[in-house]
């Protein structure tokens, strides 16, 4: 079946089964590997993308649910890595292995769009769906606060 999604601002059509998760449409069909597989069960957040501005787990989102909607992936968060969250992530050297960081960045960007001055408890609530096995949580927290404070200090 054909589905059309507005992916990073452009209409993209794919001919796949309707139950195929958006994650695999992005990675295997469209070749956009920025969005990561981590658990396949919405337990780790590595596959986080935005649909109509809301952070969702693409591994549990059938492509049929994304039909006609605006999907933003890391490839479309900014053109050149200059989204304030990406900048703060680099300034604080947040990443270790980096694998989960795309999902972390997408969750953090959605949090900050919704709540520009999140408290520590807000950060816990919004970010606890994203696992980082390297243990970068303290720096993720610091980077979110940095963005909230207007960037580099």
């Amino acid at each position: 079946m054909a589905f059309t999604i507005k992916l990073n601002g452009q209409d993209r059509s794919v001919d796949v089964e309707g139950d195929m998760p958006l994650l695999w449409v992005l990675r295997d069909v469209l070749g956009m590997t920025g969005t990561k597989y981590g658990c396949g069960a919405a337990l780790c957040g590595a596959c986080t993308v935005h649909i109509d501005g809301v952070a969702v787990r693409s591994c549990q989102t059938p492509v049929s649910d994304a039909e006609g909607r605006a999907v933003t992936t890391i490839e479309g968060l900014s053109r050149d890595g200059t989204h304030p969250v990406q900048v703060a992530w680099r300034e604080l050297n947040v990443a270790q292995c980096g694998y989960c960081q795309v999902g972390q960045i997408m969750s953090a960007a959605a949090l900050l769009a919704d709540n520009p001055k999140p408290s520590d408890d807000d950060i816990d609530a919004a970010m606890s769906g994203n696992i980082c096995r390297c243990g970068t949580y303290p720096r993720i927290r610091a980077a979110i606060h940095r963005v909230a404070a207007g960037g580099r200090r």
Partner: protein, 761 residues
Amino acid sequence: MTYHRPIRPAIRNVSRRAFLAGVSAGSFVLSVGLPALAQEKKYAGAGMPNGLREDVKLFVAIAEDGTVTVVCHRSEMGQGVRTSLPMVVADELDADWARVKVAQAPGDEARYGNQDTDGSRSMRHHFMTFRRMGATARAMLIQAAATSWGVPAGEVEAVNHELVHQASSRRIGYGAIAKAAAALSVPASVKLKEPAQFRYIGKEGLPSIDGMDITTGRAGFGIDTRLDGMVYAVIARPPVYGGKVKSFDAAEAMKVKGVLKIVSIDSTPPPSEFGPLGGIAVVASNTWAAIKGREALKITWDDGPNGAYSSDSYKAAMEASVRKPGKVVRNQGDVDAAMAGAARRIEAEYFVPHLAQAPMEPPAAIVRAGDNDCEAWACTQAPQATKTRLAKFLGVPLEKVTVHVTMLGGGFGRKSKPDFIVEAGLLSKAMNGAPVKVTWTREDDLQNGYLHTVSMERLEAGLDASGKLVAWRHRSAFPSIASIFASNMKLPAAFELGMGLVNLPFDIPNIRAETPEAEAHTRIGWFRSVANIQHAFAIQSFVTEIAQALGKDPKDYLLKLIGPARKINPASIGDAWNHGEDPALYPIDTGRLRGVIEAVAKGANWGRTLPKGRGLGIAAHYSFVSYIAVVADVEADDKGTIRIPRIDIAIDCGPQINPERIRAQMEGGVIMGVSNAMLSEITFKDGRVVQSNFDGFEVARMDSAPREVHVHLVPATDYTMPLGGVGEPGVPPVGPALANAIAAATGKRIRQLPMRRQLAG
């Protein structure tokens, strides 16, 4: 082959992963050198399989535009080696960091020397070789500029990517003179910088070399590789180790749209080393179709002898075994007599369950297998083992195997085993050479992995009438990693003993360590910090328990047991392994261990008055030739729910190359330690892993991690001191510090991990 009741001469030079290089299944004995054949012992990088290579023309390139490219022959998995190795070269080369790039070496130990990225030793082994290569490149650039200007080389300086002749005000960029420099012969010796001249080494503020790629999703992990004509596979593997397929029906699986082929893979019988577990593979046009196809398979398994493995009964058996004597692996003084004469005895038993490394990128690999060659793209910590196993299992010559090392989305020891890459190779062969990507789902990763062992530790202390600790007995029972390499391995290998069991640096007159037998019923593998996890948990919990029984301050008591500052030859206390390092260069320095305890106590304000329900715990541990101490600060509410407001960690790793990454590794080590201590466990029932994903196998998340982690770096006095590791040693002291803090906060002593189970209700 089987290898029953081996005669055991002293195990020589069993560097932690020495098995990896060219050792075929069952030949664990290779590491047991017969005295008559023993060669002069080599240490550190030189002692690794295929040793060290130092060739500036191989590792450093300077392009005409001035771009400096440094080859990184270690795998990047978050420890920052792709930044830190180039930093070392750039410093001695006086290069502008903005013009330094890194190139990842393919797996080729004949060319690059040992590439096993493990044991927290990349910088320890390669700091000096990379310094010398940077300095050599600088000397060649200077010589080339001097020759072209007709001036003595001694008058030419290298200054931030330029050669400068002050007297004649001439200058030329590195790129412009690079070709002439490359034509020169390599000088036999070069002068290194004085540490005071370092501009990058030991300094803060350098951005990670992969930061932009990671934050934009462009970083290429193993699972991200895409090739023309590539197909996708997942595999239904035997749920029990040693099991195999009895029968299967793939009719429904073949009906799934996108499924291309069903392939049966032979199971490697235990000890399966790095061989594939076998099973039924579903090859499809995308990963999702392969997963759906696998769900539709009907398979009857022959479980084999491990089908009865159950964590509950195994734990009970281990408890029984540590209550009886085991093989004596360290014996100092007369523990039996001292125990018999003790005025007071204290004993305790500690349990650590199996753990899964669970890197966020699960094992995944792409292989294209030709008729007489093959090419792999893989997230591997062990490129050479990958090459040798692909050659063996695919029947192609070693020199026809190419292994491209991708970024690793976490490793933690799991990706030291190339079984998943061999699977992709076998499937590519079955698909007539089409490139095949094998993806392990998270369920596969947790249920078919190489787990951290399961362990029971029994500790007994004998105190004389004055309260002095005079006898210490430690029994440690756990299935050994050696069990994946040889049959009937029921005792720990030397490297496991040297991870905190025999090399206990305490000033106690009578010490005995024993290892009762423990049989493996699943694949046991390296997990970040390995056997240090259980040894540190038991020993450092026990120290605080004794202190509390005596009414003493745990920090003061720990220092008292360590005793005065002194340097201990590891071999003198039963550790012939010593991380593969020369004991003359790497004695255990109790002064440095004391130093990190004092540093962390100061940083955490140890001894301060705390409100009710709040507690501090302390622990220290020496591993990977670094010294670490941790103070955990926990808070229990009325219901017994534990929060961790803060953890402090101090490290003395000798000279620091990239302090920012050392700090990151300590932060990460703390959080992995929190996962291990509080949350994670893998258990078995009927031979099968019970947990299947991150709901059952819990790890620390933002809300369960410590709110604050404070890292205290103990500065090195000079750069002639040997380096310590940083990737792994942060983990071991975290668990006991937390158990000690919880005991202080709640009065409840927890001796079994994960602690959440004991805290509930």
